[in-house]
Amino acid sequence: MAARFGALVPVLETDRLILRAPCVEDVPDWSAIFAPDDDFLGTPMDAEEAFANFATYVGGWMLNGHGIWTMTLRGDGTRIGFTMVGLEWGDAEPELGWMLLPAYRGHGYATEAADAARDHAFSLFGPGETVSYIDAGNIKSARVAQKLSANRDYAEEARLGLQDVHVWRHGAHP
């Protein structure tokens, strides 16, 4: 059953990466990204919370037709991170997200992967329907959003009443 679902997820490729279906073997690396003692700027989670969060994005494929890909290097399939078109509980719109294992940051992989995932989102929803929620202090992620040509949606930030989270919209809002 797991094998069949995994094989339904479309595999995307970029210059250096393959974005493939998530599998259970990916969970430890996902958890490592969200470990409380990492320098990742986001909400730290323990292993159980991280697993539940991962399962939400994985389940998105079945519930919504979109979800999370595992990022791997084309040469040897090394797992380096994740990118997703997600829809968590309470999200108003699909969210474009990216996260890398510490050893693989700083090489432009996030931008490269999120670019492919964003194009996939555009073909599902059209431009302007996908956002990224980025902590105000997360300069690196903000830079990725800028490189993806996303723009701050101040009206949406006000509507959601967010304090320290910025809303970046991908593509022009209709």
């Binding site: 996939h120 329907e129 209709p174």
Partner: protein, 176 residues
């Protein structure tokens, strides 16, 4: 290969991809698909759509997936269908759901494709095979300026009883 992308007032047309699959499987499951070899179960529908997608590598052209600019939904296919047993490419169109009928989408998409075939690919004409019972397709073929063509090469054996209509560059006025 990179396929061309065509834009109209309400639509984007590009080579078929995985995001179009759900709409196509749904289309083939309904009686509306009878003029396209359907209805088909999910397996045969998937393989049929995979064949459409693969034609681009064979011929350098094929069905465009038609998507709404507003929201991105896949609403149909339009383009030159040319499998191995067809004597020439066939300009064909379909809407994936009854909900998309009556809005001029098939005409808008087909007009854009015909303009592309004649202006960009320099085709001299293109045939459409219309089933006598498919009144909607016959009406659209005529609106697009096609004429019955009794001198066409015989239609493929896979399409018994169809009538050939031929589109010519002069007859197709691009509606902005």
């Amino acid at each position: 290969m990179t396929s061309p992308v065509l834009h109209t007032e309400r639509l984007v047309l590009s080579a078929p991809g995985p995001e179009d699959m759900d709409a196509m499987v749904q289309f083939f499951s309904e009686d509306r698909a009878q003029f396209y070899g359907g209805p088909l179960g999910p397996g045969p529908a998937w393989r049929r759509f995979s064949e459409y997608a693969g034609q681009w590598a064979f011929r350098g052209y094929g069905f465009f997936a038609v998507r709404l600019k507003d929201g991105g939904a896949t609403i149909g296919l339009a383009g030159p269908y040319h499998p191995g047993d067809f004597p020439e490419p066939e300009m064909a169109w379909l809407l994936t759901s009854e909900a998309y009928e009556g809005k001029g989408y098939a005409r808008e998409a087909s007009t854009a494709v015909l303009a592309h075939l004649f202006s960009d690919l320099k085709w001299r004409s293109v045939v459409s095979y219309i089933d006598p019972d498919n009144h909607a397709s016959r009406a659209l073929a005529l609106k697009l300026g096609a004429e019955p063509d009794r001198d066409s090469p015989p239609p493929p054996a896979a399409l018994p009883g169809v009538q050939a209509f031929r589109h010519w560059p002069g007859a197709n006025r691009v509606v902005a």
